[in-house]
Symmetry: C2
Subunit: 218 residues, 2 copies
C-alpha cells in the first residue's frame, strides 16, 4: 500500500493524473491489481481516483508516500555508508530491506548517519513530518556552456550506467564545469575533478545540477 502511494508520488511529477496502468507497470503487477488497490486508497481518502482518467494523491496520501520515500532513501544511505554497497546496487536492496525497518530502526539509522539530507543519488530525504525539501537544482541540459557548479543528483535507474558515472566521478557533490555542448542533443564536454569527460546526451539527461551562469556576463 505504501509502495503504491510512493509510486504514485514518483509518477505524479508534472502530470496532474497518474494512470494506474503506469503504476502496475512500475510495480510489476497486473493492472487489475493496481485498479483494486487504487480504489481502496480512494475509499480511505488517501487518493482521488476518477475512472478512466487516473489517480491523484490527496494530502494525507502524499504524506504517507513521503514517509515511505524517506525510509527508502535513508536505507539507501545506510547501505552505502555502513554496509559498503555501491550506489548503483542499493535501490533494489533498499526495497528489500525496507520491509523490515520500523520506526525505531529508522530513527536509529537516521541518527547514526548524522541526519543525512540526501540519498546516495542526491535526492533529498523527506523530513520526519513528511515534507520534501527543495534543492533548487535544475537539469544539466538547460545549463548554458561555461557554467560551473555542483552535481546535485543523478536520476538514473540502470545499474551499469550508474556504475560508469560513479567511475568517472560523476556523483552528487562533485564540482563541474560545462565546457561545451554539441547541438542536436549531441555529447557534452564536462570538466570533473580536473579531468575532462565527454558524455552522451542519454547520460546527461539524468544529471541535475546547482550552478552559476558563466562568468562572462557583461
Amino acid at each position: 500500500m505504501r509502495d503504491y502511494l510512493a509510486e504514485i508520488y514518483r509518477l505524479g511529477h508534472g502530470k496532474a493524473w497518474v494512470s494506474n496502468t503506469a503504476i502496475a507497470d512500475e510495480l510489476d503487477v497486473s493492472s487489475p491489481a493496481a485498479v483494486r488497490m487504487v480504489r481502496r486508497l480512494d475509499e480511505l481518502g488517501l487518493v482521488e481516483h476518477v475512472p478512466y482518467q487516473g489517480v491523484k494523491l490527496l494530502k494525507t496520501g502524499e504524506k504517507v508516500a513521503l514517509l515511505s520515500i524517506r525510509r527508502h532513501r535513508l536505507v539507501e544511505r545506510f547501505l552505502v555508508n555502513q554496509l559498503q554497497f555501491g550506489w548503483h546496487e542499493v535501490h533494489d536492496q533498499a526495497d528489500s530491506l525496507q520491509k523490515g525497518i520500523n520506526q525505531i530502526l529508522e530513527d536509529r539509522i537516521d541518527m547514526l548517519m548524522g541526519y543525512p539530507k540526501t540519498c546516495p543519488h542526491g535526492d533529498p530525504i523527506p523530513t520526519k513530518d513528511g515534507v520534501m525539501p527543495l534543492l533548487g537544482d535544475k537539469p544539466l541540459k538547460v545549463v548554458p556552456p561555461g557554467s560551473r557548479g555542483k552535481i546535485s543528483r543523478v536520476r538514473e535507474r540502470h545499474e551499469d550506467k550508474l556504475q560508469y558515472m560513479g567511475s568517472i566521478g560523476l556523483v552528487p557533490g562533485a564540482k563541474f564545469e560545462l565546457i561545451s555542448r554539441a547541438p542536436f542533443d549531441g555529447p557534452l564536454r564536462l570538466k570533473l575533478d580536473r579531468n575532462e569527460q565527454v558524455i552522451g546526451h542519454e547520460l546527461a539527461s539524468s544529471i541535475w545540477v546547482i550552478s552559476k551562469p558563466p562568468i562572462a556576463k557583461e
Copy 2:
C-alpha cells in the same frame, strides 16, 4: 513458514514431539493457524505430524529452521555491534528486521561482523550450510561450588532481567567463580570481574557456562 520451523526447532529440545498448541502460543497465533501450517509443512516433507500427538522436524525442515535461526542471530549481532542496541532489546527488533534481509545482506552482515560465532546472548550461530555448532557448555545449576569458568550464554527472554544481568557484568564471555550455592534453590554467590554478586535461583537458571571443576580435587 520459516518462523514456524524455527519455533518448532526451539521448542523441540529434549521433547520428541512438539505440540502445535505450544507453537501457536509462542507465535501468538490461534491454534487452527498453527495446525494448518503444520499440515502444510508435513505435506512439503519438512516435518512429521501425527494428529493429536505433535510435530517433529525432519532433516530438510531442520535445515530451513537452522538457516532462519542463523539469520536471526546474525541480525541480533548486527543490531548490537553496529546499531548500538542493547542486548536486552534486540530480540523483537531482529524479528522485525529479519523480514527484510536477503541472502546478499546476510552475507554482507556476516562479513562486516567478522564472521561471529555467537549471538549477543551467547547462542551459537548456525553455519551457512545449516549446522548448529556445539558449545559444550552446561547449566550453571549443575556446576559444583568452587568452579571457575566463563559465562557462555544467558537464555533469558525478559528485557528487564537481561538488562539487569548486563548491568552487573553477567554477560557471555565474562569470567566467573561460583563461590557458594544455598540449598533448596536458594541464591548463588558468584565472583564476577572482581565483584561478588548474589543472584537468585530464577536468574541463575538461565545461565549456561563453560567451567572447570574446583581446583581441590585430590
